[in-house]
Amino acid sequence: MTPLIYSTLIISLGIGTTLTFASTHWYLAWMGIEINTLAIIPLMTQSHSPRATEATTKYFFAQATASATLLFAATSNAFFTGSWDILQTNNPLTYTLMTLALAMKIGLAPLHSWMPEVMQGLTLLTGLILSTWQKLAPFCLIYQIQPHSPNLFMALGLLSIVAGGWGGFNQVQLRKILAYSSIAHLGWMVLILSFSPPLTLVAFSTYLMMTFSLFYSFMMTKTTHINSLSTSWAKIPTLTALTPLILLSLGGLPPLTGFLPKWMILQELTKQDLALVAVLAALFSLFSLYFYLRLSYAMTLTMPPNNPAGTLPWRLNPSHNTLPP
């Protein structure tokens, strides 16, 4: 891809999200989301392999369906309430439709099935953009919709935590694991949205930081499978020592950062007399912790079969700056 086209697409990605952030009219917000979708499509098909085109097609179908539903909901809302303002979503039907459309956009259960297959077909960099940047615009809209009752968000949240944990249980492909991890984390964020939106932002920002770090670690070690993860110690030893911290942080273990949003969310749910929901969320996130621990174990606590030449890359590659000075 020429640098000009590449930079056009990247700038379009930025413009789309910024447009959605800056808009109060549903049309403009929808337009921003569409620009985002259309800008990432060529980035996804850069490699022209059939798996990449399959992933792109599935992504496009899911996003187009969600966009159409969102536009329909926004138009219906304007019909019922007379207002195109994002903050004026008073009709329960349109509010539900909008929520479901945005849930499909970001990959919340039960509308999450496109996510692992799409992530599996992409490069790690495009997967990173999909998991982080592409979530910003829909999340901004979800944040602004005034919930009538917390039930829908709680149901979506709990289902996502279960689906994200259970789905990633037996995966060996790292990109699919990251997709399920994303679904589970989005579940946590959406669970608390109707009670304490700032907590959702805290959870989202910590999720962005952790996911970015993890994706970048995998990009540096060029690993996409749990087996190649186990030989990453020979490529960049320091990164291999630090990546489990990121993984356990994603799993929500104290005293790492990832524990903070989970703790605060559980505390807020308990304050709202939803102790059962809090217990269920905590229990189901143990599934996710299981596969994070498995990745950490594979990376640091195993010595897989390797040939002598395969144990030396860290000596020969001076371009990685993660070695201590």
């Binding site: 020429t2 392999s49 059939p50 249980f169 060996v172 492909q173 499978h225 498995r294 079969p305």
Partner: protein, 308 residues
């Protein structure tokens, strides 16, 4: 319902008073179609292998309604579903994770009895009217399989086909419960390992990966298998990076590496234009991980429309 009348068609249109009695428009339209277009009877649905008797029964007559067979089928499928469910508690694809991480070799197909032949399909150009023959049987001591037959390059005399002479053996797609497609996941491995004994003929190994679009259904990744003949067994190790993409036998310009996480089947094809008998004995087909092989893809990918 107006039918366009043209001079060549008028002679085939029934008399007008009969038109009123025609209820099925399809029948009428078919009768005025040009006769050169080969027509199929309504009952000839699907593919019929040459040599099998024609069945002129309507589709509902061909299905054998048998309650005991249905119940056995349901029991088998539910049993498979239960096994799949509990296998997930063991680990990915029913194996513990430590096995996934440590395994360097995996035998995918081996021939240890007549039941192994159920996983394979054989075919030759007899299906298009050629004269080749192919047979598959279990070798001596139930240890190997023997693929043998006769290759004949004489094209069928149908006025259309110009070339002929191929014989092939292909694995069937693995199926999960309720006949869902299952895939081989060879992403932990990077080399195909075969133990074969041939007669010196060059074969083509084809790997069929899962695709998405219908126009990709004939995509396969091929490489050559040169057999050396003789009584000695041959261990062939072909890295997956060597496989190139072909569609219906034509090598594609836009090449990419074979993705190993969803493999449907493997096949062997003989089409070396050397008429005569052939034999190929296969002990096992497996995959292995060669840590010394770090190549991603063996061929350069040329851009067909380079940007200026």
């Amino acid at each position: 319902r107006l039918i366009q009348m043209s001079l060549p068609n008028i002679s085939r249109v029934p008399a007008s008073r009969l038109l009123r009695s025609v209820r099925d428009l399809r029948w009428l339209l078919r009768s005025i179609a040009p006769l050169a277009v080969p027509r199929r009877a309504l009952t000839q649905m699907g593919y019929r292998r040459p040599g099998q008797p024609r069945e002129d029964k309507p589709p509902w007559w061909r299905v054998k309604f048998d309650l005991s067979k249905g119940l056995k089928g349901m029991k088998r499928h539910f049993q498979l579903l239960k096994e799949e469910f509990f296998a997930e508690f063991v680990g990915p694809m029913g194996k513990p994770i430590i096995e996934h991480m440590l395994e360097q070799n995996q035998v995918v197909w081996e021939f240890r009895g007549p039941h192994s032949l159920q996983e394979w399909t054989i075919s030759c150009d007899r299906e298009i009217g050629g004269k080749s023959e192919i047979y598959l049987k279990i070798g001596k001591n139930n240890e190997t399989c023997l693929l043998y037959g006769t290759l004949c390059s004489d094209p069928p005399k149908d006025g259309e086909t110009r070339y002929s002479g191929y014989c092939t053996m292909r694995a069937k797609q693995p199926l999960a419960s309720f006949d869902r497609k299952k895939y081989h996941d060879w992403s932990s491995f990077n080399t195909l390992h075969l133990r074969i004994r041939g007669d010196g003929r060059p074969w083509m190994i084809n790997i069929i990966a899962e695709t998405y679009y219908t126009h990709q259904k004939d995509d396969m990744y091929s490489y050559f298998l040169y057999t050396r003949g003789g009584p000695y067994w041959q261990d062939v190790k072909i890295p997956f990076s060597k496989f190139f993409l072909a569609h219906r036998g034509r090598v594609q310009d836009d090449q990419h590496r074979l993705w190993l996480d969803k493999i449907n089947a493997i096949g062997f094809t003989l089409g070396d234009k050397a008429d005569g008998p052939f034999q190929l004995e296969i002990d096992f087909i497996g995959v292995c991980k060669d840590y010394a092989h770090t190549e991603d893809f063996a061929y350069e990918k040329y851009k067909r429309n380079p940007e200026v």
